[in-house]
């Protein structure tokens, strides 16, 4: 029992439900959910927030966020978010998507919502694999990476090269904020939180479309322990997907 006086300098945000997640040990989703909840609390918008879930491991994100949540079919989150935000422009709508959701089946919806400059915030979790369905190739799977559907390693001659989402959206006029970050260590995680905060702030101020790509881990389907997975992000993913800000208007 503590006899000295103390205060909590790190505690559960109100926007994060006190519930053990179904995510694997070391999964990046747990970290990003937490950062999002902290930002929502710090900006005081929990009662206005609505998260649009992807189809993927984080399909149940609305069970972990202590605010309104909306399911979307695979890839359609930007369209659902558009509908939500157009009806209630005062709400804070977050579209939380994975690599298949955003860059495979949902590419059209992702590009067009960004192109229209819809005033919501997209958090794009890039872990170079389809986690929920057991580890198939994603549009962002690295060259030579072994997955369930690239058992001999991704061959760009057959299935193309990994797609860089930030750079793709950066060709559009409308988006006001595009940044790529990561959660492979403490410093990069703090930068991710900062980027998410800017993305939400932009929305509150009505400034337009913000896109935050987070290079994340899938220890289970990569076949690595979480710490090794974090190092793989730094050593293999980051050289191909450079971290940093692409646009900050």
């Amino acid at each position: 029992m503590e006899t000295k006086k103390f205060k909590y300098v790190y505690d559960r945000p109100e926007a994060l439900v006190d519930k053990t997640t179904h995510y694997c040990p070391g999964c990046g989703h747990g970290i990003v959910h937490k950062l999002l909840a902290e930002v929502i609390d710090e900006l005081g918008v929990r009662e206005k927030a609505i998260v649009v879930a992807p189809v993927g491991c984080s399909v149940l994100i609305y069970d972990y966020m202590n605010f309104d949540g909306c399911e979307a079919s695979h890839g359609r989150a930007p369209a659902v978010a558009t509908g939500l935000k157009r009806v209630n422009p005062d709400s804070v709508v977050i579209s939380y998507q994975g690599d298949g959701d955003l860059l495979a089946i949902g590419t059209a919806e992702a590009i067009h919502a960004a192109n229209r400059g819809e005033n919501f915030t997209t958090i794009f979790i890039n872990n170079a694999i389809y986690g929920m369905t057991g580890g198939q190739m994603a549009p962002t799977t690295m060259e030579k990476q072994v997955t369930k559907t690239t058992p001999t390693g991704r061959d760009p001659m057959d299935v193309g090269y990994p797609i860089r989402g930030c750079e793709l959206l950066n060709t559009l006029e409308a988006p006001v904020f595009i940044e790529r970050c990561s959660i492979y260590d403490f410093k990069s995680t703090l930068k991710t939180k900062k980027a998410i905060k800017k993305g939400i702030k932009n929305q509150i101020e009505g400034r337009g479309y913000s896109f935050i790509e987070v290079l994340s881990t899938c220890p289970t389907n990569w076949g690595m322990k979480p710490q090794k997975a974090a190092e793989w992000v730094r050593d293999v993913m980051e050289p191909y997907y450079p971290l940093g800000n692409f646009r900050d208007n």
Binding site: E2, K4, K5, F6, K7, Y8, V9, Y10, D11, R12, L16, D18, T20, T21, Y23, C24, P25, G26, C27, G28, H29, G30, I31, K34, I183, D185, F186, T189, L190, P219, K225, P226, Q227, A230
Partner: protein
């Protein structure tokens, strides 16, 4: 000591990420298992804690809170 991590040992999934980020290397894993059947995070030298909050920040499961003494 300046402060320390408070670990909810049953929430810990044993991912060991906190071990990797602690700048003063005072995070390790237990010898025994928790309710989830895994070795859980332990702080092995609370005196050295700098209250940087790296462990708590990286924990995907909100299993670590940090307190600072006044």
């Amino acid at each position: 000591m300046r402060g320390k991590p408070i670990i909810d040992t049953d929430k810990c999934k044993g991912c060991e990420l906190c071990n990797g980020v602690c700048p003063v290397n005072i995070m390790s894993m237990s010898e025994t298992f928790n309710k989830q059947g895994v070795a859980y995070a332990v702080c092995i030298d609370e005196e050295k804690c700098t209250v940087c909050r790296a462990c708590a920040t990286i924990c995907p499961d909100m299993a670590i809170q940090v307190i600072k003494y006044e």
